[in-house]
Amino acid sequence: MDKVFIIASVLIFGALPAFSQERYVAGTLPQVNVNFSLPKKFKLNTKLESRQLFAERELNESGKNRFRYERTDLALVLTKKASLNSTLGGGYLIRLEDHQFVHRFIQQANLVNDLALITVAHRFVVDETFRQTEPLEVRARYRLSLEKALNGREIDAHEMYVKVNNEYLGIWSSNRTDLEIRGSLALGYNAINDTKIELGFEYRVNEFDQPRQAHQYWATVSWFITI
């Protein structure tokens, strides 16, 4: 499986020159998710995520391969089970970027179905982002996730699994309307006690309102802990 990731890394980062006329960023996207079970079927999810860039190119500039820390997000989302397979939630995210704080309010709904061999999850999110120097930005997001055990039908303790995400984001503000599309593939390991680690790659494309789209390539590391 290591070979798969090495080949995928080479393909992703090796493909950057092919986009030499495009705008792109490439880097790492590590995140830690800690989930607290609360009374009355409530759960609190705390997520710490940061972005580090290793390569980037702006329009009419040559590509730069250098390390640059970009931003850190801390999100708190409170969810409640609406039924056996669905949850409703809301939360708040604070982002530190360019020495400024960005604030975001989040409302979300999830539907997770365990089928015979795979698990299918749908996530619907609406969020509102507040920045000091820019108008309010509203996004509507839909994410489809598929998860499959690599050995057997169920993801047991000490077992690996594969997860595929595809997400679409509609973005609206008073001065622009945009679309972002995300796709990711991750290899996960389910340790004991509901701790999961996922390593993968994510591709994002946005700025469809511009003559040239912006591409993002991320190596992702996600750690999920449940308390």
């Binding site: 969810t79 050995n151 057997g152 047991d156 077992e159 999920f224």
Partner: protein, 194 residues
Amino acid sequence: MVNMSSLVAFALAFMLLTLPCQGQKKYEREYRIKPGAVPPKSARFINDVFKKATIHWYGEESLTGTTIEAKLKTGGKRYSVEFDSSGTIQDVEIQRSYSQIPAQTRKVLTAQLSQKFDTFTVVKTQLQWTASQADLKTAILTDNLPASVQIRYELILKAQKNRSASYYEVLCEQTGAIVSIHQLVQRNVNNLIY
């Protein structure tokens, strides 16, 4: 302005402090088995009875022992055949719709389930046959069930009790009398929600 090193220190402390709070969980594992690693006795039975089907073999380990399961679909029916670790057959399960259970069985069963749960819906129904290997072979290959075959039904319910919803596995006799009810633990899907 926030110092980067204090952010990293906060993140590390956050991760490390939360780890000791984790509890211990019962050991249970289900995994795929290659056909060549299946006990010869069980492989022989399956190959004799289901000649053209594609068989998926699984092993299940729990505190009570290891079982081997063959899953297949043939003639429009989904079969699940369970063996013990030596390859001796335990039972045969065939997926059914709830409406295919005899009306009298459903009537008795529904009356009991209505007493145990506030509301319930049946999400999966399996017909379960338990008998000797020879009788199970006859039962699968012909429509004549030998008298020695014990018939039971295994249902998965989505049910609500005391305002709390959960999945339950219910085993009942052919008469509809409940043999056992087990609450099923839902797996953690936080990585699909957030």
